[in-house]
């Protein structure tokens, strides 16, 4: 049994549903800052890495607040921004963390901004090599230009809503900016026990 299992258990339900969707690239965003997007991206990536035998790449594409990069202590390391600016250098920027999880920090954000073409090219290359890509994105309302190229190219975009905290009108506004083409899903974060539907058999099998 893996020692991280109890910690990633809250994300097992989400990971199993992403797995069931069969998507290869998933982006997490929110309407506002502080909704728990980076935590969910990290937990889901860990949970997916354990759920699947195939590798998972966690990408910190949060141009506004790259907290995963800060957690990893890779603030000055090359990352996704460097990828977008110089696609040939991508292999040197990726960090393999073990147990099927790899991490790509944000890199030098002054080098490039995400564009549809650059992001599409990046995903085509990365998803070709890895089974799943999890992308941590900035909030839509604060960083729309950094989100839309990813939303248009990722297989699935998920909007994190914090239970009893996120104003629904702002969520609607954020969803409106994403547009209908991306067909996002909602992730209800910090939900009460009654709101959570975790596949009990899966949890039981893993523990």
């Amino acid at each position: 049994m893996n020692v991280s299992a109890p910690l990633t258990r809250p994300f097992d339900g989400l990971a199993s549903r992403i797995d069931a969707l069969g998507v290869r690239s998933v982006g997490f965003t929110s309407a506002l800052l502080g909704e728990g997007v980076s935590t969910i991206a990290l937990g889901t990536a860990l949970s997916l890495a354990e759920l699947r035998d195939d590798p998972v790449l966690l990408v910190d594409a949060n141009w506004l607040q790259p907290s995963l990069t800060n957690d990893a202590g890779l603030e000055s390391a090359p990352g996704v921004a460097d990828h977008l600016a110089h696609p040939a250098k991508r292999d040197a920027a990726r960090r393999t963390l073990g147990s099927g999880l790899a991490f790509l920090p944000v890199g030098d954000r002054t080098l490039a901004r995400p564009t549809l073409r650059a992001v599409g090219s990046f995903l085509a290359n990365e998803v070709g090599a890895l089974e799943t890509v999890i992308v941590d994105l900035p909030p839509i309302l604060a960083g729309e230009p950094f989100v839309l190229p990813w939303a248009a190219t990722l297989d699935q975009i998920c909007v994190v809503v914090r239970e009893e905290a996120t104003p629904l009108p702002l969520v609607r506004q954020a969803l409106g900016r994403l547009g209908a083409a991306s067909a996002p899903y909602i992730i209800l974060n910090r939900a009460k026990a009654s709101s959570v539907d975790v596949p009990a058999k899966l949890i039981a099998a893993r523990t």
Partner: protein
């Protein structure tokens, strides 16, 4: 009901803040009101003057009195307090005079002063006049001034009324005097015209003339008595003071008094307002949810669907067994190889 309780629990800190603010402010205002209110009160014993001492005729049916002496005097004071001239005269006799002169709106100032007076009856012959103020000395001063101005007004009215009555009686007296003189002249003429023994008819005529003279003299005496009464009665009443006796003089109170009712009202209003505000908040928070309180609320974002719910994890067991933040623990496992996980490698 459960929905409302859930909403109340969700907004508990906001509710506590609102209740704390409204109730706290109300209680503070009530306390300040109570501690800074001083009421000075005069207790007055009133009697209705004897009919013999009144200027009006006791036989006059046009002035029926259906009130007790106390309510009559209380009404009189209340009516006087409704007039600006009376209140102005009262204020002019007190230390509020400079404030009145400096007031931009005299009428409002005088109305506020009049409102601070309270006249109340206690039975048929007892009444109290009170004034509520933040200054205990001023309260006593105002009651004394009100009683003094009232006494002046009543005395002045009495003099005016008695003077008018006196004038009327004087006119009646002149008419009655002339009638008496005429009757006397008629009787004298008859006596001069009939020196000898009188026949039965003449005796009857003389009796009628004599009777007319007697009636005229009685009426003359009656009017003369009324003139004397109208002159003396007000003076006798004023000297005796029996009609309006101040039993307990207004005192300068050393401790707060008279603000209990206002303070209680203020506190009650604050209590009701706070409770109503809290209830309104809970009601609106329940029927107009602005946040997602569960998967059911996410359905309101249709056509977007809920993929999953991530449960709330307050604290997790950290690497050293101590409680730790979930995010920090996940980062530790992912990036630092916590609990034996692999180190970051390139």
């Amino acid at each position: 009901m459960w929905r409302y309780l859930t909403t109340a629990a969700r907004y508990r800190w906001l509710l506590v803040s609102i209740l704390g603010l409204v109730w706290g402010a109300g209680l503070a205002a009530a306390y300040v009101e109570y501690t800074t209110t001083f009421e000075s009160e005069a207790t007055i014993w009133v009697l209705r003057a004897s009919p013999e001492l009144t200027v009006t005729s006791p036989d006059d049916p046009s002035a029926p009195i259906l009130q007790t002496a106390a309510s009559q005097q209380a009404d009189l004071l209340d009516q006087l307090l409704q007039t600006q001239s009376f209140v102005r005269d009262v204020v002019q006799q007190t230390s509020l005079r400079p404030a009145l002169q400096a007031a931009p709106d005299d009428a409002r100032f005088l109305a506020r002063v009049a409102k601070a007076f309270h006249v109340q009856t206690h039975g048929t012959n007892l009444l109290t006049v009170a004034y509520v103020s933040g200054d205990p000395r001023l309260a006593a001063e105002m009651v004394n001034a009100a009683l003094a101005v009232r006494a002046d007004r009543v005395a002045q009215a009495s003099v005016t009324y008695s003077a008018a009555a006196n004038t009327l009686y004087q006119l009646q007296f002149k008419v009655a005097q002339r009638q008496a003189l005429d009757a006397q002249s008629a009787l004298d003429e008859f006596d001069q015209g009939h020196p000898g023994p009188l026949s039965d008819v003449e005796q009857a005529q003389r009796g009628q003339l004599r009777l007319s003279l007697d009636f005229a003299q009685v009426r003359l005496g009656n009017i003369k008595g009324r003139i004397d009464q109208s002159t003396l009665a007000p003076a006798v009443l004023a000297v005796s003071g029996m009609e309006f006796q101040v039993v307990d003089q207004p005192r300068v109170e050393s401790s707060p008094r008279g603000g209990t009712k206002t303070a209680a009202t203020t506190a009650a209003v604050a209590f009701v307002a706070g409770a109503a505000l809290a209830a309104l908040l809970v009601l609106l928070g329940t029927i107009l949810p602005t946040h997602a309180t569960g998967p059911a609320d996410v359905a309101r974002l249709a056509p977007v669907k809920l993929l999953a719910a991530v449960p709330r994890v307050p604290r997790v067991e950290g690497p050293a067994g101590a409680p730790a933040d979930l995010r920090a623990s996940l980062a530790l496992i992912a990036f630092r190889g916590g609990r034996g996980r692999g180190d970051v490698t390139e």
